[in-house]
């Protein structure tokens, strides 16, 4: 060990903080100039932590479910009444849907309709919130040797929740549709207009730049399928106008409580992803 004189040591101690400030400006510059550096560091950290968090998710989920069950007891009666009403409503819609499906089938048969291929997917567990203060994202544990690629679409119960933005060797980050940086071309089902779905970091993303007529309240919104890698006609949510008359989307998926999600590995224009089974369902 080198012995330094006291004044020199004091001078060095005084210099540490300014030097570290300079280094952090260097870090900022590095992060701006080379996005890859930060991404790689984050991915390797996420890779290291994903198995730990995945192992914790089980017991923590049980605790959460237990606590939820305890509070649920108090609202059981009103919840039952609400569910009974909803079942009646859904029975009606089921009958309508079955009739429409039959009609749709016969019309498609009459027109010799070429069906778009059903999306292939893999399922992954959500292990952590990867959003931070000013972003809406989540971390998936994918396990080693996964076939997840950047820009793939992520679904929950058949509804779109986001896209893959970063991948590590055993984890992947999903940017949710509510994130400030998320932009997605969508199709308004009722009026057949197109629009861009833009996240705001709030719970509901907004519709901007729509073509044709303005979006209608309650209109279904699906993916447009004009961007590479996005299969068409995946449901996203329902149009809802705010008090300030801004069209928003109420997402079908509950974005705050996602446990497992599906990553769509094939799309219309997506490069063919080699799955172990080969071709997969047509």
């Amino acid at each position: 060990m080198i012995r330094l004189s006291l004044p020199l040591r004091q001078a060095l101690a005084k210099l540490t903080l300014p030097v570290l400030f300079a280094v952090s400006f260097g870090v900022v510059l590095l992060g701006r100039l080379d996005v890859q550096v930060g991404e790689r560091a984050r991915s390797s950290l996420a890779d290291a932590l994903a198995p730990v968090y995945a192992a914790m998710a089980g017991p923590l989920g049980a605790v959460r479910a237990g606590l939820g069950g305890m509070t649920g007891v108090f609202s059981a009666e009103t919840e039952n009444a609400r569910l009974a009403a909803e079942i009646t409503r859904l029975r009606h819609w089921q009958a309508v849907a079955l009739a429409l499906a039959a009609q749709n089938r016969s019309l498609k048969a009459a027109l010799h309709w070429v069906p778009s291929p059903a999306p292939e997917f893999v399922t992954a567990r959500v292990v952590a919130d990867a959003g931070g203060l000013y972003a809406r994202a989540m971390l998936l544990s994918t396990g080693p040797n996964h076939f997840v690629r950047k820009n793939q679409i992520v679904l929950s119960d058949g509804s779109l929740v986001g896209r893959i933005t970063e991948i590590g060797s055993r984890s992947a980050r999903v940017l949710l549709i509510t994130d400030l940086n998320s932009r997605l071309p969508v199709l308004l089902v009722g009026g057949h207009g197109r629009a861009i779905l833009a996240g705001t970091n709030g719970p509901r993303p907004r519709l901007i730049f729509w073509s044709g007529t303005a979006p209608r309240e309650g209109e279904q919104v699906v993916t447009a399928g004009i961007a590479a890698g996005i299969p068409p006609d995946l449901p996203i949510g329902v149009v809802h106008y705010t008090a300030h008359h801004i069209p928003e989307i109420v997402p079908n998926a509950d974005l705050d409580r996602l446990d497992t999600v599906q990553i769509v590995s094939g799309g219309v224009d997506a490069p063919a992803v080699s799955t172990p089974s080969g071709a997969g369902p047509g």
Binding site: T16, L17, R32, Y53, Y134, A135, N201
Partner: protein
């Protein structure tokens, strides 16, 4: 571990165990902060859980810089900030600069502030927490080249301030016992 009072005068010989013990005590603040940061990102499913890690980092850096600056050196603050940036998906450098600023301000205020009562320190911390939240907001906005909503920064400042007593009390206990190298 046998507790020996910090009596002046004759000290026992620095054996290997004694040195390890004093090293562990000196490392306690930083190690504790890093573990807390990792724990804050665990899947608890708390709404707005992501605001927790930056709040814990600011409280931790403030407290240890104020009461035991030798155990929270600038280099450690830099490392904690980098970890915060990586874990919290902030643009690289935003967390580092915020925490280093908190550290620097705290070092400057240290002499007068450390002798004050809890409430005065808490009030001072509220101002620093607000400043830190504003600085993070500004840095992230500058680095991402967009005007960010103010609400998360405000919430961040409030959460950090209200988290202070919850962390400062166990920290103060640790400060006297666990993290005191002179008790090794």
């Amino acid at each position: 571990m046998v507790e020996l009072g910090p009596a002046p005068g004759i000290r026992p010989r620095p054996s290997l165990w004694r040195r390890l013990d004093s090293l562990a005590r000196a490392a306690f603040p930083v190690v504790c902060t890093v573990l807390l940061l990792l724990l804050c990102n665990a899947p608890f499913g708390i709404p707005d859980q992501t605001t927790l890690a930056p709040a814990v980092a600011v409280v931790s850096v403030f407290f240890w810089t104020l009461f035991r600056p030798a155990a929270m050196p600038a280099l450690a603050v830099f490392g904690i900030g980098l970890l915060l940036d990586l874990l919290g998906w902030l643009p690289l450098g935003a967390g580092v600069l915020t925490l280093l600023t908190v550290h620097a301000v705290c070092l400057r205020l240290r002499r007068g502030l450390a002798r004050q009562g809890f409430l005065i320190i808490w009030a001072m911390f509220a101002a620093i927490a607000a400043g830190a939240a504003a600085l993070t907001w500004l840095l992230v906005g500058l680095l991402e080249l967009r005007l960010l909503p103010m609400a998360p920064a405000l919430f961040q400042a409030l959460l950090t301030t209200s988290l202070y007593p919850a962390l400062a009390i166990p920290f103060a206990l640790a400060h006297r016992e666990l993290a005191a190298p002179e008790q090794a």
